[in-house]
């Protein structure tokens, strides 16, 4: 019963926020709706016992990414409301809604046709181990009663250590890219480049 209420409230917040992102003509309001959705998803993470990911979701998404969006909106002064009543391409919205409904229909069809076992879920109770030794959890198995951060850390720093290290390279590249993109060049080296910002004087 508790999970039903949590799912209902968090799901409604998620969907309302998502619709707010799409339907709000003011980008700042859209960003704030996005925060609502991200919080709702964090609550759903907790409801599914992914506590660490819920914390990371709030810190990284709501705390960093949306704040970055708002910084860009405010600093550039592009927070003017968009006129949503005009449709630049005729028939595009209808086509977009049809495509969206198609995107929605495919997973729904998959979920319904498999009767809720859309992943071929392991049967409950039989999942104690793969190699047959009872009481010994299989590698990567999510064990009941062990903190999820313990298991996540073990997985991240053993099996996925190389991928984890590679993400640090990715982050460095992203930082360098952001610095290069937002630098201002001197007039002498100005070329007709849409990404290069002209400076006065």
């Amino acid at each position: 019963m508790v999970e039903l209420v949590v799912f209902g409230v968090a799901g409604a917040i998620c969907l309302g926020g998502a619709l707010g992102v799409v339907l709000n003509s003011n980008p700042v309001h859209a960003a704030l709706s996005l925060v609502a959705t991200l919080f709702g998803i964090a609550v759903l993470f907790i409801a599914q016992e992914a506590n660490f990911l819920a914390a990371v979701q709030v810190i990284v998404y709501a705390g960093a990414i949306v704040v970055l969006f708002l910084f860009v909106l405010m600093l550039l002064g592009v927070d003017r409301a968009e006129d949503l009543s005009i449709e630049p391409l005729r028939g595009q919205r209808i086509a977009a809604v049809i495509i969206g409904l198609g995107v929605l229909a495919l997973p729904l069809l998959a979920i319904v046709s498999t009767g809720g076992e859309a992943t071929g879920a392991r049967p409950v109770g039989a999942a104690t181990s793969i190699d047959g030794t009872p009481g010994q959890p299989a590698p990567n198995q999510l064990v009941e009663g062990v903190a999820d951060i313990d298991q996540l850390g073990r997985s991240l720093f053993t099996d996925y250590l190389f991928a984890f290290e590679v993400t640090s390279v990715l982050l460095v590249i992203a930082v360098v890219g952001a610095v290069v993109l937002s630098r201002k060049v001197k007039r002498a080296e100005l070329v007709d480049d849409p990404l290069v910002i002209e400076v006065d004087a």
Partner: protein
């Protein structure tokens, strides 16, 4: 109502696909590049929700590991994407997605 009182993992999958399709429609309909970016974040979050649900359904921690990587990649993507948008909007403050044709061959 009694039959509905139990939340099965399929409900989370349905919610995830609804969020994904809303983000997809937003990406196709909106013309402000920043709002389009927010819709991409929406779709990414729908996918992470699905991954966590699968992680619980299959009792496998690797679903949550993937979510950590998705978070890192999303953060990197936002940094670079917003850098590009800042550079473009500084030059052309009213740019919509229709005006950004600099990469046209």
């Amino acid at each position: 109502m009694i039959a509905l009182a139990e939340v099965t993992p399929a409900w989370y999958l349905v919610l995830g696909s609804m969020l994904f399709s809303i983000g997809c429609v937003g990406l196709l309909v909106r013309r402000n590049p920043l709002v389009m970016f927010m819709c991409v974040e929406l779709m990414l979050n729908a996918v992470t929700l699905t991954f966590v649900t699968f992680s619980r359904m299959l009792e496998d921690v690797r679903g949550q590991t993937v979510v950590v990587f998705v978070l890192v990649v999303a953060a990197a993507e936002v940094v670079v994407g917003l850098g590009i948008i800042v550079a473009l909007l500084r030059k052309q403050p009213d740019a919509t997605a229709d005006d950004l044709t600099a990469l046209k061959g």
